[in-house]
């Protein structure tokens, strides 16, 4: 897991001290983590993940299972269209499994708002 953290440091061009300062986690924590003396608990993992704008899952495994929020390609495409189109300009909170027809319902709702 520290190896993933090290890659994130390199990618962002920062040092553990910078992460410590931004997150409020002590510098000694990162030293202990690197030496294998300590494994971070969930609260620290979340702070570190938020700092790098990655998921905790990614920090633990190196794989971001949340990369694609929408699991249905048709729904994602319609969500993107409704976001970009100035006649709609909408963001949803929907299930990751939302179907295109569910978002079509919202599109028709907005069409009624606009008339």
């Amino acid at each position: 897991m520290y190896e993933i953290f090290a890659k994130l440091l390199a990618r962002k061009g920062v040092r553990p001290a910078d992460v410590a300062k931004a997150t409020g986690i002590s510098q000694s924590f990162f030293t202990d983590w690197k030496s294998g003396r300590y494994s971070p608990k969930p609260d620290k993992l979340e702070k570190i993940a938020n700092y790098f704008d990655v998921s905790v899952d990614y920090l633990l495994t190196g794989v971001d299972s949340e990369k694609d929020y929408y699991l249905n390609d048709d729904a994602r495409d319609l969500a993107q269209f409704l976001f970009e189109n100035p006649d709609y300009k909408v963001l949803f909170d929907a299930s990751r499994k939302v179907k295109r027809e569910d978002l079509e319902f919202v599109k028709e709702l907005i069409d009624r708002f606009n008339t």
Partner: protein, 86 residues
């Protein structure tokens, strides 16, 4: 920013949405009326969060929603809510 909130019956998979209004100084938040009072309040917080993060200035809805859910604390991943809401 002014928010106009409406409660409307929607498909269960759609919890809420936020739409920038044409005046550019207000937004309409539509929340699924089927949700409980507590869930409706959570949705309000979620949608206001989009404005606070300037999400309408970004590009990709996948990344916007992934980050919105990541930063919303105490919220389980979608599809895994204990109350059964998808």
């Amino acid at each position: 920013m002014d928010y106009f909130v409406r409660l409307i019956d929607m498909p269960p998979a759609v919890r809420s949405f936020i739409k920038e209004n044409s005046d550019h100084i207000s937004a309409t938040i539509v929340i699924n009326a089927r949700l409980s009072r507590e869930q409706q309040q959570e949705q309000y917080v979620h949608e206001v969060g989009h404005m606070e993060r300037n999400d309408f200035e970004k590009d990709d809805v996948n990344q916007i929603e992934t980050k919105a859910h990541r930063t919303q604390k105490n919220r389980p991943p979608c599809g895994n809510r204990a109350d059964g809401v998808p």
